[in-house]
């Protein structure tokens, strides 16, 4: 189908929160009939790993992130825990705790998990391309990533992006 719309995404972030936009947009675009490709480069490669346990969220240095508890009575959930950066940086495993709380919040809100969204993308035939240069730069091996990923460089990305209707850098 030549008149099929195309969406090209470059995914560059490697945190739990920033894994959402590429997978949400790609899966939705596919449902709307778009042919979709995501080019994963730099930290975005984390989203292609077999083990997604490395995707975390960090409130440190992120003033836009509300810090609210996903449990307890309403008055408690409504508190915004405004913890200074200097304190956050000293608490061991702070990111692990924040990530656990974030995952609970995601579950409470009926928001899909990243593994689920990634699988939905694959089912909908969204093409995943990993940047070979950054795979090598970070010392990854193809075996670290899920099956079905293609490996290429900038020229590979432009082959599809040049004909796309929408192109996003995330």
């Amino acid at each position: 189908m030549d008149d099929q719309k195309k969406l090209a995404i470059i995914a560059t972030k490697g945190t739990l929160d920033w894994a959402y936009p590429p997978f949400i947009l790609a899966s939705t675009a596919a449902a709307l009939g778009y042919e979709t490709q995501i080019f994963f480069t730099f930290y975005g490669l984390q989203m292609l790993r077999k083990d997604l346990g490395g995707l975390k969220v960090s409130p440190l240095g992120n003033p836009g992130m509300p810090m609210k508890m996903p449990f307890g009575p309403k008055w408690f959930k409504d508190i915004n825990w405004n913890i200074p950066n200097a304190v956050q940086s000293l608490v061991p495993f702070y990111e692990n705790v924040a990530t656990t709380l974030m995952k609970q919040t995601i579950k409470n809100n009926g928001v899909a998990t990243i593994p689920e969204l990634r699988e939905l993308c694959q089912e909908a035939e969204v093409k995943f391309i990993a940047c070979q240069m950054t795979v090598e730069l970070f010392g990854f091996e193809h075996g670290d990533f899920i099956d079905g990923v293609e490996y290429g460089g900038a020229a590979t990305f432009f082959e599809f992006a040049g004909e796309s209707d929408i192109c996003l850098f995330i």
Partner: protein, 75 residues
């Protein structure tokens, strides 16, 4: 309204109601109607946009309390 299949998307948030709807429609034949119940307030605009872009017809979109009911006819 008559329907051929029902999808319970209650408690699901964006983009899951749309993705599940698309999946359900894939398993149906042209002209059949899918009933979807959702609780995501964003789904009202999303289902209208989904129908417009995919050519499936949104026969009705109704709100009752915190639930939204859509009837979609497959293209």
């Amino acid at each position: 309204m008559n329907f051929d299949k029902e999808l319970d998307a209650r408690g699901l948030n964006c983009p899951l109601p749309i993705l599940r709807t698309k999946k359900s429609l894939n398993e149906m034949t042209s002209g059949q109607t899918l009933k979807v119940i959702a609780t995501d307030p964003g789904s009202v605009k999303d289902f209208a946009a989904f129908a417009k872009q995919t050519g499936n017809e949104l026969l009705s979109s109704a709100e009752s309390g915190s639930e939204y009911t859509f009837f979609i006819q497959k293209k």
